[in-house]
């Protein structure tokens, strides 16, 4: 029998590859525009959810996620607030109305925007976090 090289490594199966990033890092790396925010920049983002159906977000998004949507009316603020999402990103350069911005300020919800499509932005966010 010839000599066969033997190598041995311990595979760490428990290690969680998911990185929790701070909101400010995500804003910077994805080049997002801040429409309104308070003191949430240091908050950790747990992930993202991408949907334009409010009941879908209500049912399936989880606390701390960033919500990517093309919806701009003020009902998105109540959803983000009740679900305790870390921010809403309005994509495709769409602009929320004054009433949406006012409500976001009042409810202390972070409102961001991007010129990219939901697909492109979600892809980049996924790459950052996972």
């Amino acid at each position: 029998m010839g000599n066969r090289p033997v190598s041995k490594i311990n595979v760490d199966t428990k290690q969680d590859k998911k990185r929790n990033m701070k909101l400010k890092e995500i804003i910077e790396k994805l080049n997002l525009t801040v429409i309104c925010a308070n003191d949430q920049f240091e908050n950790e983002v747990s992930g993202g959810y991408c949907s334009d159906l409010l009941s879908d977000v209500m049912g399936n998004a989880t606390e701390g996620q960033i919500w990517i949507t093309i919806q701009v009316h003020k009902n998105i603020i109540a959803v983000a607030s009740l679900k305790e999402l870390s921010a809403i990103v309005i994509v495709k350069g769409l602009e929320p109305g004054e009433d949406t911005i006012e409500t976001a300020k009042k409810e202390n919800i972070v409102l961001l925007s991007s010129n990219e499509t939901a697909f492109d932005l979600a892809g980049k966010l996924y790459g950052l976090i996972n």
């Binding site: 159906l53 409010l54 879908d56 209500m58 009316h73 009902n75 998105i76 959803v79 009740l82």
Partner: protein
């Protein structure tokens, strides 16, 4: 035992979710466990929005005691002719205008069902609908 009541205006989407936000605040203040609050928030928001989207006017009553949170959302409205069908995910009679806003996925009633311990829907066509949602605090 705490008993609160909120008026819900049918058709007025500018205030949709307001009652639910207030109730959520109160549940936090009286130290209901966060895991319960999260689920109750989803269910009551859906019930509130259904009054706004589908009925003329309604009210949400909240009864809280140490063992449970009970919500009763009753409205004057068209009622639901077939409750079993309405409970199916994806079934919706929402108008095009309402769908444009991202409502009308037909997920509201299923979301309620998934997030409470007991749910009862009573409806009379041409009169209105009563949704009762109970969450046991353990």
């Amino acid at each position: 035992m705490l008993n609160l009541e909120f008026v819900i205006e049918g058709g007025d989407f500018t205030k949709a979710g307001q009652a639910s936000s207030e109730v959520k605040q109160i549940l936090k203040q009286i130290n209901i466990p966060p895991a319960h609050i999260k689920r109750i928030a989803v269910a009551m928001y859906e019930a509130e929005v259904n009054v706004v989207a589908h009925a003329y006017k309604g009210k949400m009553s909240v009864f809280i005691d140490p063992s449970k949170v009970y919500l009763k959302i009753e409205d004057e409205g068209p009622g639901i002719p077939n409750i079993e069908q309405a409970m199916q995910e994806g079934f919706s009679t929402a108008t095009e205008a309402v769908r444009q806003m991202g409502f009308g996925a037909g997920m509201g009633l299923p979301n309620m069902k998934k997030n409470v311990d007991e749910m009862q829907v009573t409806s009379e066509v041409g009169k209105g609908t009563i949704v009762e949602l109970t969450t046991y605090i353990t």
